[in-house]
């Protein structure tokens, strides 16, 4: 038995959805029902409705699993599953089948309500959603307040990056009302983007975030703000690559840059956490590889590398 629920749909859409579900019957391998009162296996979210998004964001991460973005146009919203308005039976069936299948693959023994165990700091921060979270290790700490979009820390620059690189069990983590906030006078709150970027870059340990589709195609909707940290060549290359017109998968990114998957995943996670990543389902028609831009010649690559190396060594 599987349950489908929805947030923010118009009365008409909700009625259509309910009657479609009733008609699914034998076309699905599991029996699906529309229910609002039990934990849902799939959730249809009207992303054209800002109130609905706000409500959705308040829900715990577990309740947001398998959310389907339902919208008029291609939403600038990082969800891998999408349905275009109006509802059509065939498309609905396709998404729900996909969810059934994904859940089968996930058929690890589930303890309690937590579907998968969180193993990295990046996942941990991503799941935290909107609340306050404090990470501490000895006398070093970071407090991230997602609702106010800011953070503060005892560390800065390289030492902040070092703190965020630790394996997850090393942190003492407190969330919500349990967080003892540092006294207002002693701390400097900064834009959370800087710390979220670092969490992705340092706290991913080669593991893609649970919320990101491994087979998705990625594209940046803007470049990260680097602030005082000079971005590495790796980061600049990946930013450039994901600025192309057509979105790219992880394998394409590896091929184009020769970078290890570890770095690519750190980048994708960082971009996802800071909200600058657009993800398209990898199933949609892939762009023709023939349309790819011509290779940059070796001679030119050499020249560009020399300019880069010159910039890395400022002369006074």
């Amino acid at each position: 038995m599987k349950y489908l629920s929805s947030i923010g749909l118009s009365v008409k859409d909700e009625n259509v959805l309910k009657s479609l579900i009733d008609l699914l019957g034998a076309r699905m391998s599991e029996e699906w029902h529309y229910r609002d009162d039990v934990p849902a296996d799939a959730l249809l979210l009207d992303v054209d409705n800002p109130d609905a998004i706000a409500t959705w964001k308040m829900r715990p991460e577990t309740a947001r699993r398998n959310t389907i973005a339902y919208s008029n146009s291609e939403p600038g919203f990082a969800l891998t599953r999408r349905l275009a308005k109006p509802l059509r039976a065939a498309e609905l069936i396709a998404v729900l089948k996909d969810i059934e299948q994904a859940n089968d693959e996930l058929a690890v023994p589930v303890v309690g309500s937590e579907a998968t165990e969180v193993t990295t700091l990046a996942d941990c921060v991503d799941r935290q959603g909107n609340g306050v979270m404090r990470l501490a290790c000895g006398d070093r700490e970071v407090v991230i307040d997602r609702s106010r979009q800011q953070f503060c820390s005892s560390e800065s620059g390289e030492s902040l990056a070092a703190l965020l690189t630790l394996p997850l069990p090393e942190y003492q983590i407190s969330t919500g009302a349990d967080v003892r906030l540092p006294s207002e006078a002693s701390v400097r709150w900064q834009d959370q983007k800087a710390v979220l970027w670092l969490v992705g870059q340092c706290g991913s340990h080669g593991k893609l975030l649970d919320g990101v589709d491994r087979n998705g195609l990625f594209r940046l909707n803007r470049w990260p703000g680097f602030g005082p940290v000079r971005p590495s060549h790796t980061v600049l290359s990946l930013c450039s690559l994901l600025s192309r017109k057509s979105a790219m998968g992880i394998a394409d990114m590896r091929e184009a840059t020769g970078l290890p998957e570890f770095d690519i995943i750190a980048f994708i996670n960082a971009a996802f956490l800071t909200g600058i990543l657009d993800i398209q389902s990898g199933d949609v028609a892939r762009p023709e590889t023939g349309a790819a831009k011509p290779e940059v010649s070796t001679e030119r690559k050499g020249l560009l590398a020399k300019i880069r190396s010159r910039l890395a060594n400022p002369r006074t």
Partner: protein, 175 residues
Amino acid sequence: MSEIKIIITGTPGAGKTTAIAAISETPPVRTDTATTDELSEVKEQTTVAMDFGELTLEDDQKVFLYGTPGQRRFEFMWKILVQGGLGLIILVDCTREDPLADMKMYLENFSDFIAETGAVIGLVKRDMTDTPPLDEFYQALNQQGLMFPVFEVDVREQGDVALMIDALVSLLEYS
């Protein structure tokens, strides 16, 4: 070995001359003359032909940095200066009346060159104003089907100028 050049353009007073002075190894060649019109309220000198600076690479190859005059009546110099260029940096002065329109104007004027190469947008004087928000610049680019990096920079800082060139170089290689 062919000449390698990077061009810096943007609104009058945005800091093209300042940027080249910040990063050039040699004292920059300037063609600044006294301002005689309303710009003189903002600054005393303006570029009428070009700024010129250089960087030396490890094998003694040179990268030339050219700054264009900012004022529109020197448009003819823009065309001359971009010939054979590697890429373009556009500086947008956010204290001016309509910085988004300024950016669009330069994107349009250099559109052929940009299409063949690439561009980086530097927003300057952000210490004096934080509008328009960064997102609006990305939206404006997006509307023209473009995706270029937009950075908030202080062109008096060598590191910030280096970042723009660095991003431009990555863009040329990977995007």
